[in-house]
């Protein structure tokens, strides 16, 4: 399978990348890890006339631990994030990074590329929307900081201007009594998840939910924040009944489509189950327990 012909250009700096985007015109595109873009090009669902390779721009892969925040360079690979000690302190980030596709894809795919691609089945959007996340976008008019909840417009569509790219992803560290979990269900390692649920909750005392975010992946055109599900738990004691009500509300919030991965009804049922389990794991983690979570598939 071969994509349409294109010309290839290597940018040595972000400035050069935006300049090339301007010079090469509307059909040019930036390529980072290429793990979403290359399959799309091979299926001829995308056909850029020029590719601008940013992989060799220095300093764009760093992961910085600064006071209250973690800063991920756009080119930080999923695998770099998986093994990063700073990330280990925020388990939901590790859940996400460690389970994306397989080793080969994690070695190549990037956090910036994943967000900029805005694939509805991508893992990072759902995960990062449970935290305070901002995206540093850079382009010819200069830099701007976009909150992640304002970043996605639609499937495969973000607020990025044509001559703009992601430079950095900034994640606020959650408070101490906070815990999160990302659970994705997939048929086998290399495929996209059928459905996923991300939960980050902060405790007041031992079992009262001070604050919570619940985000669903793969069941809508973008990741979906299940606000009613959050309301069922916020300021409430977290117990079987409140978790049940939140899962039911999450099921209602999902907007899945039937496809080769399952029927819409199946995905709704899956979302409810994943949300329930993610809340339980997030709760244990918020209390300081170490719990394994992440992507689930046969043979894991």
């Amino acid at each position: 399978m071969y994509p349409h012909p294109f010309s290839y250009h290597r940018a040595q700096s972000l400035g050069e990348a935006t300049k090339l985007l301007h010079q090469l015109g509307e059909e040019s595109r930036v390529i980072a890890g290429g793990q979403s873009l290359i399959p799309l090009m091979k299926m001829r669902l995308a056909h850029p006339s020029a590719l601008i390779d940013i992989n060799l721009i220095p300093g764009l892969s760093e992961i910085k631990n600064e006071n209250d925040e973690l800063r991920f360079g756009a080119l930080a690979r999923h695998n770099d994030i998986e093994i990063c000690e700073h990330t280990a302190a925020i388990p939901i980030l590790h859940d996400c990074a460690a389970g994306i596709a397989d080793v080969q894809v994690r070695n190549q795919g990037t956090i910036g590329g994943s967000l900029a691609e805005a694939d509805p089945s991508g893992d990072w959007a759902a995960t990062l929307l449970t935290l305070e996340t901002s995206v540093v976008c850079t382009g010819s008019p200069g830099e701007r900081l976009v909150k992640l909840e304002d970043f996605f417009k639609d499937a495969f569509t973000t607020v990025l201007e044509r001559e703009e790219l992601v430079r950095e992803v900034i994640v606020q560290k959650p408070p101490k009594n906070s815990g999160g979990a990302y659970l994705a269900f997939k048929r086998s390692a290399p495929v996209y998840a059928t459905a996923s649920a991300a939960v980050q909750l902060t405790l007041e005392g031992k079992d009262t939910c001070k604050d919570i975010r619940i985000v669903l992946g793969c069941v809508g055109l973008t990741a979906i924040r299940a606000k009613q599900a959050e309301t069922e738990l916020r300021s409430q004691r977290i117990g079987e009944q409140t978790i049940e009500r939140a899962a039911e509300a999450a099921r209602e919030a999902a907007e899945p489509q039937s496809d080769m991965r399952g029927t819409a009804d199946y995905k709704r049922a899956l979302v409810a189950a994943l949300v329930k389990r993610a809340i339980a794991i997030a709760l244990r983690r918020a209390r300081g327990e170490r719990v394994e979570a992440g992507h689930e598939y046969v043979g894991r």
Binding site: P3, S7, Y8, Q108
Partner: protein
């Protein structure tokens, strides 16, 4: 520059400098097989699923069907042809042969490189770590049990060297 204009890609493959003039859309796996005549790297699904095309680029495994050759320019590549030395099998290859870690052999080049990548980072992997490390490599013959045995054996042999 016309869109189909060919460009020179220069890489080191298994320690040797190699180059070829190719269309930018050339996939790395085809560059290796067609331009450099290294046919040990296989094309399985061609959709980034099966891992038969796995090679090491700068020490990390990638699926060479989901990678454009020009992106590798200046890089260091290891393919299955680079594993043996003077006709002597690499311990990973030897372990796969000993444990019947292959039947038809189509997926084997990719599995060998995924194994090498794992053992380079983690000399004593647990079974769970082994499973995770080869989750991106599909084998339709063995049922994986003998592959697991082979990887355990390879870890032991490489540890002794």
């Amino acid at each position: 520059m016309s869109v189909a204009e060919k460009i020179t890609v220069r890489v080191r493959v298994n320690g040797e400098p190699r180059e070829a003039l190719v269309e930018p859309r050339t996939l790395l796996v085809d560059f290796l097989r067609e331009n450099l005549n290294l046919t040990g790297t296989h094309i399985g699904c061609d959709t980034s699923y099966c891992g038969a095309c796995t090679v090491l680029l700068n020490g990390r495994t990638i699926k060479s069907c989901t990678f454009f050759a020009p992106m590798a320019d200046g890089g260091e590549i290891t393919t299955v042809e680079g594993l043996s030395t003077n006709g002597a099998l690499h311990p990973v290859q030897h372990a796969f042969a000993e444990c019947h870690g292959l039947q038809c052999g189509y997926c084997t080049p990719g599995l060998l490189l995924s194994t090498l990548h794992l053992l380079n980072k983690n000399a004593k992997p647990t079974d769970k770590q082994i499973r995770k490390a080869i989750a991106g490599n599909t084998c339709r013959c063995t049922g994986y049990q003998n592959i697991l045995k082979a990887i355990r054996m390879a870890a032991g042999e490489m540890g002794r060297r």
